[in-house]
């Protein structure tokens, strides 16, 4: 066939016309749009009946009421519970993201036993009998004190069960990690006597003088802090914030007073000196002070006069004078202590010095002041049944006053100091200073049992991991603490069935006690933790089970409070930072990253600014004046006496010159790519500095140098 011009054009036009009228083109377009919109891998959330259950969040000491939205049996959202006495509807980002902890596939799903460098899954029966057998050996060798325990806190019935277990076992060696609450108790014990704690009436105070307390950065009960701060704005009450860095609290305050890190105690004492010199104190209150007021006054005027402290603290002496005067003349002033979240390292000298300001102006147990009240007590346990091994064991000396001293002792000793260690809800291998030394110490303990929901840094060192429920799956009483003016107990309820083969930690300890038989088992006769909780909270169980919350006390505590100033009158030494370099590295508490042992949720990490975490690098804050030769966002090498880290630099005018700030809560190293292996753990770069006398780790920072990498 001959193809001429005419037939070629005819065919071509015919083809064009044919394609144009044919449905094939339209069909293909339609198909392709259907195909490109076919996403079988995109999940379709299952629908169901909506219900709401109220509970309490126990991720941090805040103890906020939460409302959990469920679709069928499935919790889908956590929100703040309106009307709850602590948070009244608001919630923090960690609580809201709580379901990411619940459903996290990297949770510990079954009991695990260490086998060489890996873990193998075992049954609960096997795990409990392994633990019981080891503990029985320790008891049989008549050295029950060689069982040690570390918990996050000493509050609520689960902690009480652990303590009860240690008592009936015969070991005095149970420790808690430092928290704001333990710092408050230590301060109260020094100034007012043992068994008490301190709270701050921030909702009513008209002048808040905060020595670095991150009132809107997770200090105390965080949501309550946000609310008190918002109400402060409405009441036009003043907040003066003293710290080396323009934190969010400082930025939100009426005045930011930059102070050289580690000199907060000196500044507080200089202010005490002003108040005493200008006779601005409450003479009625001061007349009742014990422990040598005149001696203290003489010391303050001689050593801590503002003119002498201006150089030390970096605050002008006229400013010290003005602020102290404003504070003393305010109607309802309160001085708040506990740097950052309040759980970090700080010296007793600093805590007591700041609290002495409260005592001097006579705001103790007054509206808008500091409340000194007995520690919350509502648990009524039956008497313990003790055998002779237990009674003997309890008479032996503790291995140390605080957990870090025990670890130091273990590292120093050639003989085993501790045969077995229980770790509950704590991650000392991450949160304590000099984390490497803590890991080393754990390695020297023959048998470590971790009660944990996650395979965190400490759980990884354990020989047995007993997986526990998250707060969404368990029943537990959650007492408020951490400086909150009212004392309430909330009830955490299992709003979700257990996702994995986990148990309530209370049940785990009851099972271990029962397996040990004898007097120990007799002291744990409950069928389950749920039974135990009901029977040990007789006074408040009705409120707890019906309302979800029981108010133990609110309002201003009554009764007079003794004040003893002998601790300060003896002029304790100010703790100095370790090292000789010219810069000081300080930790930064950021609301979006928890500093405690639990890593942030993926959502929380997502909200973290790229001026804090970039890729897998921590970004440190430094004043442009200090950062000679360093570029913004450029790499740098940060060196302290404890170690070196590669970091990025954020040139920040909100940082005092001479200071480097690094955020807490990064640098976890476990298997969860969304939250772990990001940035540096600042606790690896700071070593403990023990305050003589109190035994507290008071390393507020460490000397450091930084150079371009």
């Amino acid at each position: 066939m001959k193809v001429d011009r005419r037939s070629f054009l005819g065919l071509g036009l015919g083809a064009v016309a044919g394609i144009a009228v044919s449905p094939v083109g339209i069909k293909l377009t339609d198909d392709s749009s259907i195909w490109t919109q076919n996403w079988p891998w995109t999940p379709v959330p299952v629908d169901g009946e909506v219900s709401y259950e109220s509970s309490v969040c126990s991720l941090c000491p805040g103890s906020c009421g939460i409302s959990v939205r469920k679709i069928g049996d499935r919790p889908v959202k956590i929100e703040g519970l309106a009307g709850h006495p602590i948070n009244d509807g608001g919630a923090c980002l960690h609580g809201i993201a709580g379901l990411q902890y619940l459903y996290d596939p990297s949770r510990v799903k079954t009991p695990l036993k260490k086998n060489g460098n890996t873990f193998e899954a075992i049954s609960w029966e096997d795990a409990i009998s392994l633990v019981a057998a080891k503990l029985a050996d320790i008891r049989n060798s008549n050295a029950p004190e060689r069982l040690a325990g570390i918990m996050d806190k000493d509050l609520g019935s689960v902690s009480a069960l652990f303590k009860r277990f240690f008592n009936t076992f015969g070991s005095p060696n149970i420790y808690t990690l430092p928290t704001l609450e333990s710092n408050l108790q230590a301060t109260a014990a020094t100034v007012h006597g043992k068994g008490q704690t301190i709270a701050f009436d921030l909702e009513n105070a008209d002048f808040v003088l905060s020595f670095g307390a991150g009132l809107i950065e997770g200090w105390g009960s965080p949501v309550n802090g946000f609310k008190a701060n918002a109400s402060r704005k409405e009441r036009h009450a003043k907040l003066y914030q003293i710290e080396p860095r323009l934190s969010n609290t400082a930025a939100n305050a009426d005045k930011w007073i930059p102070v050289k890190p580690g000199t907060e105690a000196d500044l507080a004492l200089a202010m005490c000196a002003v108040i005493l010199k200008k006779k601005l104190f409450d003479s009625k209150a001061v007349a009742n002070f014990k422990g040598g007021v005149n001696k203290l006054n003489a010391l303050l005027q001689k050593t801590y006069a503002p003119s002498k402290m201006a150089e030390t603290t970096g605050v002008k002496s006229s400013d010290i004078d003005t602020i102290a005067t404003l504070f003393a003349k305010a109607k309802m002033p309160v001085a708040v202590f506990g740097k950052g979240r309040g759980d970090g390292a700080q010296s007793l000298k600093e805590l007591v010095a700041v609290h002495t300001l409260n005592c001097l102006v006579g705001n103790i147990n007054k509206k808008g002041g500091a409340f000194v009240q007995p520690e919350t007590a509502y648990l009524e346990f039956p008497a313990e049944s003790m055998d002779s091994i237990a009674t003997d064991g309890l008479t032996k000396a503790k291995a140390g006053r605080y957990a870090h001293q025990v670890f130091e002792k273990i590292n120093a000793a050639s003989q085993p100091v501790v045969e077995a260690l229980f770790v509950y809800n704590a991650n000392p291998c991450y949160t304590l200073h000099g984390a490497d030394n803590i890991k080393k110490a754990l390695g020297k303990i023959p048998f470590v049992v971790s009660f944990s929901s996650f395979l965190d840094e400490t759980a990884k060192q354990a020989d047995i991991i007993l997986p526990i429920h998250t707060f969404v799956e368990r029943l537990e009483d959650v007492p408020s603490c951490a400086g909150l003016a009212k004392s309430v107990v909330g009830l955490t309820k299992p709003v979700s069935p257990p996702i994995f083969d986990t148990k309530n930690p209370g049940d785990a300890i009851i099972l271990i006690a029962k397996a040990l038989e004898g007097d120990i088992a007799q002291s744990f006769e409950w069928d389950s933790y749920d039974d135990c909780l009901e029977s040990v909270t007789p006074g408040i169980w009705d409120d707890l089970s019906e309302e979800g919350v029981a108010v133990i006390s609110e309002g201003i505590p009554t009764g007079s409070v003794a004040v003893n100033v002998s601790f300060l009158a003896d002029n304790p030494a100010t703790v100095q930072a370790q090292g000789d370099d010219s810069l000081t590295l300080i930790p930064i508490d950021n609301m979006r990253l928890p500093s405690a042992g639990t890593a942030a949720s993926p959502f929380a990490v997502k909200t973290v600014s790229d001026t804090i975490l970039k890729g897998t690098d921590s970004v440190v804050e430094i004043n442009p004046l200090t950062a000679r030769g360093l570029e913004d966002r450029g790499y740098a090498t940060l060196t302290t006496p404890m170690g070196t880290a590669r970091v990025r630099v954020n040139l920040n005018e909100g940082m005092m010159p001479g200071v480097i700030g690094m955020v807490e809560g990064l640098g976890h190293d476990f298997d969860n790519k969304y939250v772990s292996n990001k940035g540096t753990n600042i606790n690896d770069l700071i070593g403990p500095v023990i305050e003589s006398g109190s035994g507290l780790d008071a390393a507020f920072g460490i000397k450091a140098k930084i150079s371009k990498a």
Binding site: I96, L99, M591, F603, N623, E653
Partner: protein
């Protein structure tokens, strides 16, 4: 039931920047309410999907006079020039995947209509829109917390804040069942509003004088005499909108007592701010 539900709502928000603490609750509440996914590295903020994003702003001064403020930025739900519903993004969408709700003032986003041209992202002056460069992936088991009220999105579509429209639908359904014509102020609140622990976010109907948001904003009923495209300018001297002079007419207002913060809401030529800072709607010309 009488059908009197013809009055148009104009849902809007006012955020008190003096109360905002930058805590991030609004961001996480939004993510968990709206099934927003997460990925391994979210530190590249250009591809990190956050319908609500909290920006940190400084006054640019050096130590120790530096100040910081946090500015939460949801979709501004612009009414467009003259508030006629021609929002910057709506006007450019070739697929009608984003549209203006004349009964609510809410700018919608319909994922299945979107084919990912991203014109809207270019048009949005507030960077409130995000593109799904990848399919969302939830770690095994985590899809169990997904809410059935909001469809998870897929690769290749744009998404943004909807003022929690599903909450409006639920409130309206409930009102219908109860035989009511309209919803109460507290029945429809966005997830960020209810989560804010500082109470910095107030949400409601800007057209309803009984609503807190109207009382704080006091929207000017007349167009701005300096620029007739600007409608609903606040008569509260401490309230401003972002890039207000563009005439996009956002329904998100900001509140601050600090002048430098209000000034940070737009770009001003030298001297311009002093001329404009005391101008609070048509009445200030009387």
């Amino acid at each position: 039931m009488k059908q009197e539900n013809n009055k148009a709502h104009k849902f809007g928000m006012v955020i008190d920047l003096d109360k905002c603490t930058g805590c991030g609750s609004c961001m996480v509440s939004c993510m968990s309410e709206n099934n927003v996914p997460f990925k391994e590295d979210e530190s590249n903020k250009k591809d990190s999907i956050t319908w609500m994003r909290v920006y940190k702003i400084t006054n640019g001064k050096s130590f120790p006079d530096t100040e910081i403020v946090y500015l939460p930025r949801p979709c501004q739900h612009c009414g467009g020039k003259g508030d006629h519903g021609h929002s910057p993004c709506v006007s450019v969408c070739p697929a009608t995947a984003t549209d203006y709700g004349y009964d609510t003032g809410i700018v919608s986003q319909i994922y299945t209509r979107c084919f990912g041209c991203r014109y809207c992202m270019g048009a949005c002056p507030y960077h409130a829109r995000y593109f799904n460069w990848w399919d969302p992936k939830w770690p095994e088991g985590m899809e169990n917390y997904l809410s059935p009220n909001v469809s998870p999105r897929m690769r290749g579509v744009v998404e943004k804040c909807s003022f929690c429209y599903h909450r409006y639908q639920a409130a309206r359904d409930k009102a219908y069942v109860d035989g009511r014509d309209d919803i109460e102020e507290q029945e429809y609140q966005t997830a960020c509003t209810t989560a804010c622990p500082a109470g910095a976010i107030v949400f409601g109907d800007l057209n309803n004088p009984a609503h807190a948001v109207h009382q704080i904003v006091k929207p000017d009923p007349h167009p701005d005499p300096r620029n007739k495209h600007i409608v609903g300018k606040s008569r509260n001297p401490n309230v401003f909108r972002l890039l207000e002079r563009l005439g996009t007419n956002p329904k998100v207002y900001y509140l601050s007592e600090r002048e430098w913060v209000r000034k940070a809401g737009d770009n001003y030529l030298e001297g311009e701010w002093d001329e404009i800072k005391n101008h609070h709607g048509s009445s200030s010309h009387d």
